[in-house]
Symmetry: C2
Subunit: 312 residues, 2 copies
């Protein structure tokens, strides 16, 4: 099944558009967690894997997608990448779609190598084998079409997806993304190209394998892009820890509650650090995570078109 | 010593500004090379490591810098990253500076995680250890200042460097980088911010730890940026396989031959595939690589201010 159709089906089946972001920072792991592992690099990587897999076990029955932030694993070198690989494999066996958040970008054959790495297959001993089993990859468009097309080509062939950074959620997003050229800000020029990149890549449900990253922290731009980019799946970061609220995200959805996938990373995986959850669940960090997912689902259902997904 | 000072000293000592790019593609390895390794993922990774280390051994006595393209190692998963790590360690012991070409980008604490990964240190068992020993990292500016400053902060603390994509070497670079806003193309807006990012980060030799990637394939823009960005080290891709010639690069140098670091990847590491080298060296791919470096050094010396570095 095409990537976009798998997304729509998973969102429908689970009744919500939540993407749980897994960004493990050793210094934020639950008290005592790190102490169970050797105090060396491999031990930290093992701890990241154990924590990530435990988070997956809690959230996979509820959330349709997981997003892994590569940086926090790359930080621990090849051992960290091995921990990420094992965690992704753990997730794959649990009926969730996996987004590899690496914001990769390069030109021509190098972009294709990244695409094959995360979405495709590599030549190994006369056959082709996948290195990673991600369903989608985030990419950065600064290099233009010939830096994006290799990702789209491989994603299309492998029935995977890409999410192109269009409008990011950070405060400085405005600096280059909002520069106005020929009457349109740069991010709208990127959005216009994105339509070209997705031509003919629509799935049966009407959504495209070329998606867009659009931050929750810019509600006007989000709503504007929703009407400019019909059939484009939005990956929406910035809810929770970065200050985006459900009402800010409402404009990113289509009327039936599809079309926007809302990410929350620290707000879920480190929910046990928040006073409200700590009071209720104490050191039971897994129950805090579970409740944080439920609370996010309820918040989106009450304040955005995602409410239509319930019972659907 | 500050990163930029180490670069200037290395360029002066070796008498040339060559950056050898190591982008190993299994399908382009010398005939029979892969057959010496097991026909599985680990075997391919071992082959990449053996090839990369052999290239390092040939080029390190001549070239002041090496640039490793992450994509080709990431393509083979954690095993590929382990191969890259081992190759970087091999290079470090051989008196060359190492650029990790990953074009990383993200916001806030995630950008900082990437920066710590490649340029800094990570907490491990109560101490701090480096995961990678790169001297510099390439980064993408699309997210703006708060996506760049974490890299600059860590680089500054660790006496490392960053190279910000300003003007890339590919054909589609024009698409977004040349959009004109307030009378200046986007890449010039990036260049202007780059001046801010580098404020107070100048080394004793007058060059900054915040460098710029500027493609060899756009000679006019390269010369224009050279005069706009005094004291900024340029990492110049696009020479050789991508069609940039020495005369196109001349405008990227300062008068004394410093200031531009010229990368060549496939043109050197796969020199043995070119008829001229094949005729001369047959299957001796290491001699072909060595000659390709010498030829590039001579070409730059004859046709750019890098000639001033000789005997200096």
């Amino acid at each position: 099944m095409e990537f976009a159709d798998r997304v729509v089906a998973a969102v429908r089946r689970k009744g919500n558009p939540v993407v749980v972001g897994i960004d493990p920072r050793p210094e934020e792991l639950p008290a005592g967690f790190l102490d169970r592992f050797p105090a060396d690099r491999r031990g930290v990587a093992e701890a990241l894997k154990a924590f990530g897999c435990a988070v997956v076990d809690v959230v996979a029955p509820m959330a349709p997608l997981l997003k892994f932030q590569a940086a926090f694993y790359e930080a621990y070198g090849p051992e960290g990448m091995a921990a990420l690989h094992a965690t992704v494999e753990h997730a794959r066996a649990r009926d969730v779609l996996v987004i590899f958040d690496g914001k990769r970008n390069d030109i021509g054959s190098t972009a294709e190598a990244y695409a094959r790495a995360y979405l495709g297959k590599e030549p190994v001993g006369g056959a082709f084998e996948p290195s990673w089993h991600a369903d989608a990859l985030t990419i950065n468009p600064y290099l233009g079409t010939d830096g994006v097309q290799p990702f789209v080509k491989i994603a299309s062939r492998e029935k995977k997806g890409v999410f192109v950074l269009v409008r990011t959620s950070n405060a400085s997003a405005r600096e280059f993304q909002d520069l106005v050229c020929d009457g349109l800000p740069v991010y709208r020029h990127v959005a216009n190209r994105l339509k070209d990149w997705g031509k003919g890549k629509q799935g049966a449900e009407g959504y495209n394998l070329v998606g867009a990253v659009v931050g929750a922290t810019y509600p006007d731009e989000l709503a504007e892009l929703r009407s400019e980019l019909p059939g484009v799946l939005f990956l929406v970061p910035g809810y929770g820890a970065q200050g985006g609220e459900a009402k800010d995200i409402a404009g990113g959805f289509d009327a039936d509650g599809q079309g926007a996938l809302v990410n929350n990373s620290r707000g879920i995986t480190f929910a046990y650090k928040k006073p409200a959850y700590r009071e209720r669940f104490g050191d039971d960090w897994q129950r805090a995570i579970e409740q944080a997912v439920r609370d996010m689902i309820d918040d989106l259902a009450a304040n955005t078109p995602a409410g239509k997904l319930r019972g659907g």
